[in-house]
Symmetry: C2
Subunit: 241 residues, 2 copies
Amino acid sequence: MLYVVGLGPGSKELMTEEARQVIENTHTIVGYATYVRLIEDMLEGKELVVTGMRGEIERCKKALDIAATGKDVAIISSGDAGIYGMAGLVLELAGKMDTHIDVKVIPGVTASIAAAAHLGAPLMNDFCHISLSDLMTPWDVITKRVDAAAKADFVICLYNPRSKGRPHHLRKALDIILKYKSPDTVVGIGKDVARPKEIDKVTTIKDLDETEINMTSIVIVGNKNTYVEDGRMITPRGYTL
Amino acid sequence: MLYVVGLGPGSKELMTEEARQVIENTHTIVGYATYVRLIEDMLEGKELVVTGMRGEIERCKKALDIAATGKDVAIISSGDAGIYGMAGLVLELAGKMDTHIDVKVIPGVTASIAAAAHLGAPLMNDFCHISLSDLMTPWDVITKRVDAAAKADFVICLYNPRSKGRPHHLRKALDIILKYKSPDTVVGIGKDVARPKEIDKVTTIKDLDETEINMTSIVIVGNKNTYVEDGRMITPRGYTL
């Protein structure tokens, strides 16, 4: 069996019981070095297959090859393995193999959910997830989605908002959002969520300092009803109070 | 301290460690009867405040009143408390009180993530969450969002897709989606996810039998690249394989 395990955003407190059990009971663990470090103290005596960044395809193939020998193996992702994680790639590659491999995806808490909880309650109404990385999705598809989401007043969770190689994507996305949303729209930023260096910040589109944002950040742009109370970002569900 | 705890979709295996610890260490638990039953065996010796359906405001007020006396109390939601759950309402009501109440939101696995893992990997590309309940969001806002999401080819997770009081909302939403997506677009249905009666089904928009769907179901409509392999719903991330 090949388990695809979402570890949650960082701390072991946000891991599910099922993820914990699978890691505990599986001898061979495959993962990117940063994720392996997140669960270092659970790995004593295990066989580790650690790969570098951008090694996603190689990593999944290795896990599938090990599973094909009849061994149990777990491949780990941070957050949820099915949201911009390893689950899709594992299933895509499994479909191309001659041997049938049993694959089980173990859900986890994704970054937006953890960031939202720490920021307040920004996701209480309809929302969307958009990755601003154009490594695998064309930029015009991304901008079309940002435009549609802003126009229909979704709360918008931006994954991969900004990196050294893509310093201007967040600004470009916010410029599109400003066609429809006010500059005073509340924005929440979660950086290194559920990790020791976590920073959570509530600001507005116009006051956002994009240089504070990097690849370990998630940006949540509110809808027109989102407000700030006692430092927290709240999107009303719509109850009459 | 008032903890707002997301229990995950149903089984204790999908609860986070932090949620488990908070429930274990908090004497007073407030919740809707169905959610209290999900964690029955964790509640021995605890003080329970159980309210009925549609009693959300009363439930949150009770929890806040208990916290105002200085006691620790946990109010529980299924899934994640910040996604169509209790977190927003608690924070909204806390803001209206004279006393300051410390509130901590404990994240959980929401239904779409658990359903996605059991269906395959449908959420590997940009997606959105839309609730089809118009109890608190006007129907024209909902349809506008469905239209925008379909037009920009998001994967669409429909919460509260159909109920006795709203038997036609899912059909109406699918009719809007069909303006932009093919009738052969893959659809995943998760019913009673992570509960004993769970049913997962992969179908298409044109073959979907809406009478199978109720309030404990979640419907995930794929994007134009979503496909089925070995009975599983997969949305490619975009890797060249």
